[in-house]
């Protein structure tokens, strides 16, 4: 099969997976600040309101974020702010 994309060779010892591994989720959320990122699709706010209520009800810290439009990736400034202020993030869909 001829790949459509661009091929480059791995410069490493190849002990890492071909696909990037996801970060391991924290085992325990106590004390963590959870970011809720609305993707600005219809009713995502309502959905995240409900999630926030559930999380704060468990005594967790929640911060809310929103990207301007669901049609484009989140601006770097939003991502940076989440990285700066949160330990984990939930990105919210809706419809």
């Amino acid at each position: 099969m001829i790949p459509k994309g661009y091929l480059m060779r791995d410069p490493t010892a190849e002990t890492a997976a071909v696909q990037r591994e996801r970060l391991t989720p924290p085992a325990d959320l106590s004390g963590a600040t959870i970011g809720l990122l609305s993707i600005s699709k219809e009713r995502s706010a309502e959905f995240l309101d409900y999630v926030e209520e559930r999380l704060t009800g468990r005594g967790l810290n929640v911060l809310r974020f929103e990207k301007p439009t669901h049609t484009k990736p989140a601006p770097e400034s939003v991502l940076q702010e989440i990285i700066e202020r949160c330990d984990v993030v939930v990105e919210g869909l809706a419809d």
């Binding site: 790949p3 459509k4 994309g5 661009y6 091929l7 480059m8 060779r9 791995d10 410069p11 490493t12 010892a13 190849e14 002990t15 890492a16 071909v18 990037r20």
Partner: protein
Amino acid sequence: MEYLVIVKRDCETCQMVAPVLADLQNVSTLTLYSQDDTTFPEATGGALDDTSLEESWRHNVEIVPTLIRIENGRETTRTEGWDRADWVRVTGINALGENLPVFRPGCGSKSVEPGMPERLALKFGNMHFESRAIEVDEMDDPAEVAYDRGWTDGLPVIPATDLRIARMLAGTTRKPDEIIGDIPPNLIPCTVEKAAINAVMAGCRPEYFPVVLAAVDAVLKPEFSMHGLLATLWFSGPVIIVNGPVAKRIGMNSQGNALGQGNRANATIGRALQLIIRNVGGGRPQEIDRSILGNPGKYTFCFAEDESDPDWVPLNLARGHAAGTSTVTLFHGDGVQGVADQKSRDPESLARSLALALWSVCHPKLAQWSHAILVLSPDHYAIFREGGWGRAEIEAGIWQALKRPGHEIVEGAGGVEEGIDHARADEMIDKFHPGGLLVVRAGGVGGLFSAIIGGWTAHRRNEDVQIVSQEIGT
């Protein structure tokens, strides 16, 4: 008889032999390929298409025209360019090209233009690489993918495509699957191919690659202790000093700003070594690399010695290599400390002055803790030279001037708790271990300044940790 001929229109010799080819076509089976224009030669009614250069590559054609005699499907002889006697020999036709000059050199085949042999080998040959291919989606930027995967030192890298790797490998005679050695910290066997990938990413040209390989060979010598250098809390990283004809051949900078930015060879050779340690060995900052502060030279630190004065003994000769040999010398070095002396006019004063500055290496009250490089600028060197001092006298003069009474630097002396052991108060103390001061010439004119590159604190164990030199191969 059967012949195969490869020509191109953009070659006056090919144009000149066109009537000869027409004659040959009339009396034999002629397979004629053109590299650039299938309507050429008109005299033969054109040629078969070899604009892909596949036939030229398969027949190892270096010059056009090339005439190959084929018997029973196999080449039996060939001739290149136009040498009438040789064409007669190959064809056995005595009257061939009688009205043409006796000899005309041919032109270069398009299949051997720079970079083309590697491109053709990848396309038509069985060249392949062992390192796994990472596919970058067409919507992604390869440079960003390299960042995401942790392959860079913080600066962008050149994506290692097969063509770039093939060209890099053409810079050495060493085989791609040769194991250079185990790269610390993870002691991963590193092939020449892996080194080539990292050299591509660092931005090296293929002609730099033997220098990169020599640097890797050098740091893998056990006495260099690359693992410890990578893992140290101290500032040091590998510093590469290049000597010999290779420096001029690949355009290294030994003149103004030799320790700074702006020269591709200086910049990328040092960077390639660091990328190999990072990517193959797994040596990353804040992981196994425990440096408290690091230093900017850990991106890259590589320069050539100025060997322009025939009276100067280059560093590699002083270290026992033969004259005319190209070498790398690997030092465990920190950043650059400038030394100004604008008043000394005789060698004795300047030696004492430089010695004063050298005492600051590691700590002014510690001795034999780390080695150092003294990079003598042209204007400082001129003072020594005019005073009749060469390398031996400079080294001896500075060594002598570096001796200090122990009581001045023992713990607590001068109200500073740091210092050497009280037991040495009555000794005269040498700042460095024997062989621990490298004097190197580099730099531009116009300033009575030189530079000190301090060394690693592990130099205090000077048998375990040694400066190494390595001849640069091919």
